[in-house]
Structure formats: structure tokens, C-alpha cells
């Protein structure tokens, strides 16, 4: 396997690791103060580093690693549910988030028990999770558009957080939804799709880095 291919395969570890190291360096040497939003994004980075490293290691050992992706899927869902729980001020939005999460858990269990067992890739669960997060991000954007505008949204932490979530999950939704079909057609397709997924993850991580480095945040009432 050439270096170019290797880079893209391991990009799902390299990107979150690089972003995490930049944040760590800034916290240690530049005194960056972390807010709850930042800690949640960092926990996503850490989850990706650990779980993707494990998945890649198992793959290298030629051991089935799909159960790691099942675990990654539910972990990511939990992390971003907490993120949106912090972000939404409105009780009705929080309730919707809780119903969405409950629905996801039921869907996840049904999927792993009846449709995509732990030894197959959890593409449907990923797709459902991505769908929900795109919805919640759009709710945040709608809330900001409806509320009193901040002077410059590009300076706001929550905007970049929600933008990162929307970008990563919105872009990857097609990959997750078509994964099952494309993997049946050709294994090569899966390889290409996963590399593309890693590119989206990288861009998502970079947007999260921007979120962590943003200093302003909006009043909760506007989201």
C-alpha cells in the first residue's frame, strides 16, 4: 500500500489527534480556558482517536473491527446529545432532543439485534444519528436566525460547533446511507467512500478547532 493511501486510511486518527494536540498545546502553554462546549468537542476528538486507532489496529491484525464502529456510533451520539443539551435553552427543544435520543437508542438496538449485527458495519445507525444531528444543527441555526443577532456570528463558539456538526454529519450522511448498497456492489467503493469520510472528518475536526479557539458565545436564549 502506498504512502498516499495509508495517509487517507489513517486520517481518521491523524486529524483528531493533530487537532487535540494543538488544543492541548494551547491550553498548556497559552492558557486557553475551556468551556463545557469545548470539553465536549475534545471528548469527541479523544473518542475518535481511541476508537479509530483500535479499529485500524484490528483491521491491520485482520480481525473484524465492525463492533468498534458500533461502539463509536453510540459514543458519538451520546457526546453530541450532551452538546446540544447545553446548546438548547428552550425546554421544548431539549425535550425534542431527548425524544430524538431515545428514538435513536431504540433504533440502534433494533439495528444491532435484527439488521446489522456487531460483526457488520453499523451504517444505518450512523445514518440515523447523522440525520438527527443535521436536524438539531438546523434547529440551532433557525433559532439564531430568529433571535436577536450577534454582531458577528463568525466569532461565536456555538456557531462553529454547530457548523462542524452540520458539516461532518451532513456530508457523511450520504456515505452512511449508501454504504450497504455500495459495499455489495464493490469492496473498492467502500475503500474510496471511507477515505472521503475521513476527509470530511478532518474538515469537521478543523471546524471544531475553530469553535474551541473562538472566544465569544451567544446568550443561550437565542439558540
Amino acid at each position: 500500500m502506498d504512502k498516499h493511501n495509508l495517509f487517507f486510511i489513517y486520517l481518521d486518527i491523524i486529524a483528531p489527534l493533530a487537532v487535540f494536540l494543538v488544543v492541548l498545546f494551547t491550553v498548556l502553554y497559552r492558557g486557553l480556558k475551556l468551556l463545557p462546549y469545548d470539553r465536549i468537542l475534545i471528548s469527541f476528538l479523544l473518542a475518535q482517536i481511541i476508537l479509530n486507532s483500535l479499529a485500524n489496529y484490528l483491521q491491520d491484525q485482520r480481525v473484524n473491527n465492525h463492533w468498534v464502529y458500533h461502539l463509536n456510533c453510540i459514543t458519538t451520539q451520546g457526546i453530541f446529545t450532551v452538546y446540544f443539551y447545553y446548546l438548547f435553552a428552550d425546554a421544548s427543544k431539549k425535550r425534542l432532543l431527548m425524544y430524538g435520543s431515545l428514538f435513536f437508542i431504540v433504533f440502534y438496538i433494533i439495528n444491532i439485534v435484527f439488521i446489522q449485527p456487531y460483526y457488520t458495519f453499523a451504517s444505518y445507525s450512523y445514518a440515523m444519528g447523522a440525520f438527527l444531528f443535521v436536524g438539531f444543527s438546523l434547529m440551532s441555526f433557525y433559532g439564531w436566525m430568529e433571535g436577536l443577532p450577534a454582531s458577528n456570528i463568525l466569532l461565536l463558539k456555538e456557531f462553529w460547533g454547530a457548523a462542524g456538526i452540520l458539516f461532518y454529519f451532513g456530508s457523511s450522511f450520504f456515505i452512511f446511507i449508501s454504504y450497504e448498497y455500495l459495499s455489495e456492489v464493490s469492496a473498492k467503493n467502500v475503500g474510496i467512500l471511507w477515505k472521503l469520510h475521513n476527509v470530511f472528518l478532518t474538515l469537521g475536526c478543523l471546524i471544531f478547532l475553530k469553535a474551541i479557539f473562538s472566544k465569544q458565545w451567544i446568550l443561550k436564549s437565542s439558540s
Partner: protein, 251 residues
């Protein structure tokens, strides 16, 4: 691959579009806010001028009706002193001294009203009380001020505008209502101040008719000022049943 790229492009396009729309809204909001601030400042200046004008009118009336009369009496007293009847002189001098003392007290009271800052120095409620006192002095009106709840001191600019609204309402009563009582109540509750200005005059029909231009301008000016304070303005009136002006502003 193409499908995934199209999805990513869609998301990016959405984000750019959102940023553009949001920034546009933000710019519009900022200019609207600036405009409102300017209007607010202009309204304050106008209120100050109107209060001064009203104050000068009151003072002129007071000098003419009260101090002028008192001093005329003093003059009359002194003119009628008959040097040939020395027994009456001390009484006349005493009377004159008392009258001059009263004129001095009245002048002091008036001097306090010479600029609008001092009117509100003791707060809105005191200023309203003082204004009602002046109106009552005319002998035409019975006035009252009732305060409910724990009074809260408002921002000085807000108090100035509110005071001007009360003055305007009282002017309307004096000019148009043919009332004999003016009752103001200030209710402090739920982070709001509600001012109710009641009179027992002849009331009027709503909506206003063509001939009521002056009253209409006055009411619109009051309503606009209340809006500037993020408050609510309402009128309850009917022919021969008096009028109640209701003002509610956040404190």
C-alpha cells in the same frame, strides 16, 4: 463518491448562505438599534425642552396669580398707611411683613422649578406630586397620587420621559376634559411600573374625530414616548364618563 461530494457541497453552500443572511440581519439590526438610540436621545432633548416650556408657563401663571396678587396686597397695605393714625400702622406693617414672607416662600418654591433637572432630582413620584400640587393650587381641581407596591427608582432618562408624558396627560385634562378631579396612581409590580391617570371629565369618543387634532397629536406623542420605553399605552374613555390613561413600562 459524487453523491457524497454533492452532499458536502450542499452543506457548505447552506453554511455560506446562512452566514450571509445572518450578517445581513445583524447589520440591519445594528442600524435599527442606532436609529432607535438616536430617536431616544432626540426624545429626551425634546422632553427636556417641553418640560422647561411647561415649567415657565406654570411659573408665569404662578407669578401672575399668586405672588403678583400677594405683592399687590402689600402695596395696597403700604399705600393705605395713614401717618396720622399711628395706632394702626404696626398692624398694617405686620400684615405686609407676613405677605412679603409668603411671597418669598412662594418664590423659593418656584425657583426650585426653574430647570428640569431639579424637577426630577427627588424622583419621578415627587415630581408628579409637585405638579399635582401646582394644579390643585388653581382651586379648580382636586388631585391625588396613590402609590402601590415598592417604588423603584428608574433610569433618569426614563423618568424624564415619563414625567413629560404625565405633564402632557395633565395638560390634556386641563385643556379638554372639563374635569374636577385628577387622580394618578403608580403601581409597581412584576418588574413594571403602571401609571394610571384618571379624570372625571367629559371623556371623548374613540377613534378621535377630525376636530380633535390637538388632542390626537398629544395622545400620539404620549404613545410614541411610551413605545420608546418599551412600554404599553392604552386609553379608556367614553363620553361623559371621564378618561383613564394607562401606561406600563418595564423598570
Amino acid at each position: 463518491m459524487i453523491g457524497a461530494a454533492v452532499f458536502a457541497l450542499l452543506v457548505i453552500t447552506f453554511l455560506f448562505r446562512f452566514i450571509l443572511l445572518y450578517q445581513k440581519k445583524s447589520i440591519a439590526f445594528t442600524s435599527e438599534k442606532k436609529l432607535m438610540e438616536t430617536q431616544f436621545q432626540q426624545e429626551i432633548l425634546l422632553s427636556q425642552l417641553e418640560i422647561q416650556e411647561q415649567t415657565l408657563k406654570n411659573i408665569s401663571q404662578e407669578i401672575h396669580d399668586n405672588i403678583g396678587q400677594t405683592l399687590s396686597l402689600v402695596k395696597l397695605n403700604l399705600n393705605t398707611i395713614d401717618m396720622e393714625k399711628p395706632a394702626v400702622i404696626p398692624q398694617k406693617v405686620d400684615n405686609s411683613k407676613q405677605l412679603v414672607g409668603k411671597a418669598i416662600t412662594d418664590l423659593r418654591t418656584l425657583s426650585k422649578k426653574l430647570h428640569s433637572d431639579s424637577i426630577l432630582a427627588a424622583g419621578l413620584l415627587k415630581a408628579i406630586e409637585f405638579e399635582l400640587g401646582l394644579v390643585e393650587k388653581s382651586g379648580v381641581y382636586q388631585t391625588s397620587l396613590t402609590i402601590n407596591g415598592e417604588p423603584v427608582t428608574l433610569d433618569a432618562q426614563k423618568e424624564l420621559i415619563l414625567f413629560r408624558i404625565v405633564q402632557e396627560a395633565m395638560n390634556n385634562i386641563i385643556k379638554h376634559a372639563h374635569a374636577s378631579t385628577i387622580a394618578i396612581s403608580a403601581n409597581f409590580a412584576h418588574n413594571h411600573l403602571q401609571l394610571l391617570i384618571d379624570d372625571n371629565g367629559n371623556g371623548f369618543k374613540l377613534p378621535l374625530e377630525q376636530g380633535d387634532i390637538n388632542r390626537g397629536i398629544g395622545l400620539r406623542s404620549m404613545e410614541n414616548r411610551v413605545k420608546l420605553l418599551n412600554g404599553q399605552f392604552a386609553i379608556e374613555t367614553a363620553l361623559e364618563k371621564g378618561t383613564q390613561i394607562q401606561i406600563s413600562v418595564p423598570v
